[in-house]
Amino acid sequence: MNTLQAGLSVVRKRFAACLPERAAVIDSLRQELEDDPDAYRFPSMNAAKINLHRIAGTAGTLGFSNLGDMSRQAEDLIVAYADGAQINFAELHEKLQRVLKLIDQVYNSLPDTETGAA
């Protein structure tokens, strides 16, 4: 393994270690959308946005472009909502579900040495 790959592997491990917590925040918004699509939910949207933004910013460089792209799409919808645009909550719910699924895939694809679960 060259130095770049070795360095990225260490960062990937840290990224993976953060995923459960980030997934929990995103899932909380997804659950709220499912329970009551009309409820006021700006605080949980903001929390989800911060976590989606962070995932979108680094996932691509670490080799998880699908997760990065989907996180970006979900974040874009939340940003549009915060800017006053009408958004389709069902679409946001679906994107959040896909992000969570991709987080699961990424987490499970990493060897235990990279998720810290060993």
């Binding site: 360095g7 260490v10 960062v11 933004h53 962070r54 979108a56 680094t58 460089t61 472009s65």
Partner: protein
């Protein structure tokens, strides 16, 4: 280079550390907030930083606000500041350049792109060092040269604290990197002080710098209803990039610039009125131009205003101007 990276995401900072380490030859210091960055900058005895990488979206003080503060610190007035942002966040990018950013990097990072940017930044750092050395030399010999000091007509003029006025290389970076989609509603045009060569010959260095700065302010005031970036290109010429699909009515714009200049009541050191006259060249709409074509449009805008000015100087009005500043 000694680089300070500021980002609220620790993973992003770790990633930058690995990538910058791979490029080699740099020391990266990490900060997880603007407040922590300012503490690190203020640390006594620490070596100054050569370059800054600032994430735009941070809780508390964001990267744009931090950039503004850095620019107000004399030692970092010309230091390269690269803003870190997601693709297509044009509103943030515009604010960042207005606050004095030199360039920006998009997330997710790519090693090749980062390497290229670091090379450009190093070049800028070396140019700044040379400029600082020259300034130091100029200061030490100031007493001897004071009476003869003259500002080169082509030289850049340091213009601070005027909304929307940025350094020329920053304006080029801004245009070079925005996507075709982002540039679609933008227009580029240039403004030039008529008879600048004659004014330059007559003016002391201080008068000349004031004349350029005041003209920049008049242009900025006249574009205050629009999102605009303005840069001094040397030779009395300013390049302007205006967003939001504005189709400039140049006659009323130039009228407004003249009104602002009139209110400023500018004089040469000997008390004679300056009576500045400016002209504007053909506006060039960027539409779907690529970044490279947009940068070329900057040159075309300057060529166009040169031609307009030449024409004006050969007209009866030019004869009047020539007499005035003779």
């Amino acid at each position: 280079m000694r680089i300070l990276a500021v980002d609220d995401d620790p993973i992003s900072l770790d990633l930058l550390e690995v990538l910058i380490g791979q490029i080699g030859g740099h020391v990266l210091v990490k900060s997880d907030s603007a407040a922590d960055a300012l503490d690190k900058i203020a640390q006594r005895g620490a070596a100054p930083f050569d370059c800054f990488l600032l994430d735009i979206e941070m809780p508390g003080m964001n990267g744009v606000e931090l950039c503004e503060i850095l620019r107000s610190i004399a030692v970092y007035r010309h230091s390269p500041i690269l803003m870190i942002t997601r693709k297509h966040e044009k509103r943030f990018i515009d604010d960042a350049f207005s606050a004095g950013a030199s360039d920006y990097l998009t997330k997710p990072f790519e090693l090749g792109e980062l390497r290229t940017r670091m090379r450009m930044v190093e070049k800028l750092v070396n140019e700044n060092r040379k400029r600082n050395d020259k300034l130091f030399a100029a200061k030490t010999t100031r007493k001897i040269r004071e009476s003869q000091e003259h500002y080169e007509l082509h030289a850049p003029v340091e213009i601070d604290d005027i909304p929307g006025v940025v350094e020329y290389h920053a304006l080029e970076n801004y245009l070079a990197q925005l996507s075709r989609r982002s540039l679609f509603g933008s227009t580029v045009f240039a403004v030039k002080i008529a008879g600048v060569e004659r004014l330059h010959q007559k003016a002391e260095a201080f008068d000349f710098v004031c004349m350029i700065t005041d003209t920049a302010e008049a242009i900025s005031d006249s574009l205050s209803d629009h999102q605009a970036l303005i840069s001094y290109c040397g030779y009395g010429t300013f390049a302007c990039v205006v967003e939001d699909g504005w189709r400039p009515n140049l006659d009323s714009f130039i009228d407004s610039v003249h009104k602002c200049l009139k209110l400023m009541d500018l004089h040469f050191g000997d008390g004679e009125e300056m009576n500045l006259v400016v002209c504007a060249g053909r506006p060039i709409r960027l539409l779907s131009k690529s970044g490279e074509q947009a940068v070329n449009a900057l040159s075309q805008a300057q060529d166009s205003v040169e031609a307009v000015c030449r024409e004006m100087e050969q007209s009866p009005l030019g004869a009047v101007l020539s007499k005035r500043s003779a």
